[in-house]
């Protein structure tokens, strides 16, 4: 630091220099040093700017990498559903929950992607059965390859893609409006009459056609077998999807062809579906039935309305007893309307299942029935719902079946994460 006062005192001669000259010298010095200082500052700023840019690039790459890991192709996103509730009924439902509080299911699903075209979907599920036992199931274990927007091929265990409900909701209780699935579409051990799961190959895609999109699902896999005595109440059978191989070496095949409308009809989807294959049971003299199902579905989900309907018609052929073919049908219609967070809904289910058809008569869930249902769903937030649902069920008197008429009431608290 220069202290001019001290310099003046130590160098008295300097005080004799005319003020004007000193000012001139100072002026010359300053005029020559400012550009130099400015140049040095400019260089320093350029260096600093380069360093900042390099840091920005590094930070950007790090955050891009983190984003990619958290939600992009290389991460392992984990999602899930869980529900708990309370059930009561005026007569013990043979497959649904007995009176009291219950834990429904805890289902996780993981959707890892590997590169641009390879993806997978895993869904371990934990469920409390009506007898209180905990069952653990690998609901889905499928690995896919996406050829294009119009074609993805999956291999493994998947939700059989007939109709809409089975793949649209399945264990995702919080996503579906009602507490219970339509009974004939329920899981194999919960009253369903169709194989809700399949192990095999599944091709799916969407193709733009006109203003909307043509959608398709084509699948083939192990046909199920009916394991007799699996239902302790009736001694009848429950479908086993043949997880580890096909017992009769007859593939079950099916398709689901639909059209998704857009514009003024946005939210509407109509589809036809079919399922065909041989199903054996494990009686000492096994019955073999050729299952032939065709049907359709119509779904409208727009403007706060929910309209779901599915129809299944069976024309099954007895290939062991040679009793010919037998016709059956099952359908449901559900209508709901949302008023902000509250959605009241109604549903009607009807299943007329021929007891001459071994496919139904050997299954514990193969009894004809009708059911009316009224319920309310209240969304506490987008990921949590409370539901209240009343059923009236009427199981028909058929050969080897016990008729039953009863009311049921369910409450459910369901979340997704």
């Amino acid at each position: 630091m220069v202290n001019t006062g001290n310099v003046s005192m130590k160098n008295p001669g300097l005080s004799k220099v005319p003020v004007l000259l000193r000012a001139s010298i100072l002026g010359v010095l300053l005029s020559s040093s400012v550009p130099a200082f400015a140049d040095a500052t400019s260089d320093s700023m350029k260096v600093m700017a380069n360093k900042i840019e390099a840091l920005q690039n590094q930070l950007s790459q790090m955050t891009s990498g983190m984003a990619s890991h958290s939600g992009g192709d290389q991460g392992l996103p984990l999602h899930g559903f869980m529900d708990v509730g309370f059930a009561t009924n005026t007569m013990a439902d043979p497959v649904a929950y007995p009176t009291g509080f219950y834990v429904g299911s805890l289902s996780f699903y993981l959707t890892p992607h590997f590169g641009d075209k390879v993806k997978a979907l895993f869904e371990p599920n934990f469920e409390i059965a009506s007898d209180g036992s905990l069952s653990t199931d690998l609901e889905r274990a499928q690995i896919g390859y996406t050829f294009s927007d119009a074609a993805t091929l999956w291999a493994g265990r998947f939700h059989t893609p007939y109709g809409y409900w089975n793949t649209g909701f399945h264990h995702g209780a919080q996503m579906q409006t009602s507490v219970m699935r339509p009974r004939f579409l329920d899981f194999e051990d919960k009253g369903g009459v169709l194989p809700a799961h399949m192990v095999g190959l599944w091709g799916a895609g969407k193709i733009r056609a006109g203003a909307g999109k043509f959608t398709y699902d084509v699948f083939a896999g192990n046909g199920p077998k009916i394991v007799m005595g699996a239902d302790p109440l009736t001694g009848l059978g429950i479908q086993d999807i043949n997880f580890a191989g096909d017992n009769n070496h007859q593939a079950m095949v099916g398709l689901n062809l639909g059209y998704e409308f857009s514009g003024s009809m946005n939210g509407l989807r109509v589809a036809v579906h079919s399922l065909r294959g041989d199903v054996d049971d494990d009686n000492a003299l096994p019955n073999k039935t050729e299952l032939n199902m065709v049907g359709g579905s119509l779904v409208y989900l727009e403007n706060d309305w929910e309209l779901l309907t599915e129809l299944y018609r069976f024309n099954d052929n007895d290939k062991s007893g040679l009793t010919g073919s037998h016709k059956s049908s099952a359908s449901y219609l559900q209508i709901g309307k949302s008023f902000n967070n509250l959605t009241p809904y109604i549903r009607k289910e009807v299943a007329n299942l021929s007891q001459q058809d071994n496919y139904f008569s050997m299954q514990a869930s193969g009894q004809s029935y009708s059911r009316e249902l009224l319920g309310f769903k209240y969304d506490l937030d987008p990921k949590a719902s409370l539901k209240l649902e009343w059923h009236y069920s009427n199981f028909q008197a058929e050969t080897g079946r016990t008729p039953a008429k009863y009311h049921s009431l369910y409450t459910q608290y369901a979340i997704r994460f």
């Binding site: 939600g71 192709d73 927007d149 993805t152 399945h170």
Partner: protein, 134 residues
Amino acid sequence: MNSTILRFFSAGILALCLIPGANAGDVVVIANSGVSISAGEIKDIFLGEKQFAGGTKLVVVDNASAQGGFLSKFMQMDAAKYNNIWTKKSFRDGLTPPPVKSSDAEVAEFVRRTPGAVGYVSTTPTGVTIIQNP
């Protein structure tokens, strides 16, 4: 004096009318310079229905600071419906919802540097392709 007050209130009302419109209307969809997509494909891209453009895998990114304007303008839906659609799609088809960036700057930087990236911003950046700029 009266005309001054009138002009003051007119200007205030005009400003109030313009502010919300500018917020929603300024959202533009941007893509990495190597991506070739059309404005008519934006809805399909952000719903996972269109995953490829030519041979390039699209990498879609949401922008928390501009999502409301984007969803109402380009998707004709609110955030609840958008999230519900993605939950169903993820559950059924094994797709992953777009990751969410917090600002225009983050989205612009990500799109600029990531091959196949598509996003949206409320201020137009440089070095990206503008898909639709109303």
